[in-house]
Amino acid sequence: MTEKQIRVLIAKPGLDGHDRGAKVIARALRDDGMEVIYTGLRQTPEMISEAALQEDVDVIGLSILSGAHNALIPQIMQKLKENGQENVLVFLGGIIPEDDIQGMLDAGIYKVYGPGTDTRQVSRDIREAVSLKQAE
């Protein structure tokens, strides 16, 4: 209990209803000792940034399979900025075409994961990113 608990918000923005991936990640992070706030399906950018604010999370994990990432991600990042939550690290997983990845990173996403990612990798990346952030 000496190390601060990492708090992660897992949310699915947009309209697709496939939350299996989000749940698998939530479970994997739980098993790695993180506190995962799971908010479920069909979240608007406003809902996501508000939930992240109320829960004071270190990390937001977004899952998008619908192809709407180019529309949704900039809106979410904008909301976070408006609320003064630039310190929150945002990770993205789902079906993100190769050509779009750089755009996502430019929009402020910390890292993008595709299908078949080893959940332990995600977990390691989160720990590393959070400790880098805290060292700043």
């Binding site: 209990m1 601060k4 608990q5 708090r7 939530a26 479970r27 992070l29 739980r30 098993d31 790695d32 000792g33 993180m34 506190e35 995962v36 706030i37 799971y38 908010t39 479920g40 406003e46 809902m47 508000e50 939930a51 604010l53 109320q54 829960e55 004071d56 609320n83 003064g84 939550q85």
Partner: protein, 347 residues
Amino acid sequence: MSLSESVREGSRIALSRVLSQVENSTPAGKQVLDELFPYTGKAHKIGITGPPGSGKSTLVNALARQLRTLENQPRVAIIAVDPTSPFSGGAILGDRVRMLDLQGDPGIFIRSMASRGALGGLATQTEALSQVFDAAGYDFILIETVGAGQSEVDIVNLAHTTIVVDVPGLGDDIQSIKAGILEIADILVVNKADRPGADQSLRYLKSMIEMGYRPLASSAGKHRLAEAMPNLNMPELDEQLSLWIPPVLKTIARDSEGIESLVGEVLKHQKFLKETGRWQLKEAWTLREIVRKRIEGSLVLDFFQQLPVALLDKTMDDVINRKVSPASAVEILLTYNRNRNQTHYSE
């Protein structure tokens, strides 16, 4: 502006950060809490407890929404506690999934909390978080416990009003007269009342209440809270007025059915507590419990800090090899620390 001032001015981001500091028991958190404490004592704390899957989160969602429609539009804070894994230390906090209706209402603030090893249905710092919300000016604080079995009853030491949520089909009338969770209820709710067996559950619970309260009403008329606190100065209570008989209600939280009556009972209970002087009694009780728990925590911490690791290891070896019983081991260690302190102070 200091952090505590920002919280009282209504900054949500400051509030959220303070909640984290307090939850993690940081020195900064303690300082803010010290500054905020004089402004606490106004909020009505409502506990919601019951078995896993009984619909607590959905009920909290409906309850918060209904409270917001009251005339003075009270602000509502929600603390939702979910269990921490005993193996990984991680947790899935999923209560927000049932509270999507409350998103976007600036008069509502939801905070999820992991139990972090505490066993009574709450986390160690749940009470401290409720103080922060109290000082921030929230009128109602809804505290949802982890899914409770029979003895997760810590909530009664914290809440002014405890709502116990039951669902149809969980047991017969013997279950309903056991000690524990059902007897801490100020209000009993049979949720998912559209399911078969709801009326039967309602009957069991009602007959339990009648069994328990008839002799009390006719003889001493003393409330169990008063009996539990013999050392406190009890105000003179009118025997007729001082008896609260827990109402039993049916709800279907998903459809907001029965929620208006539930809020009615909550407000009735609030009025009852205030008119009979029990509000102050409960506050006194809660604060006494907080101090007691903090002493326990600090003493244990001090104890282990003072104890030489080698002595602990050696004593534990003796216990593991069945040479010394656990009870005697405790005596050895306690005596060691006590003697050490005495020589320390006499020096």
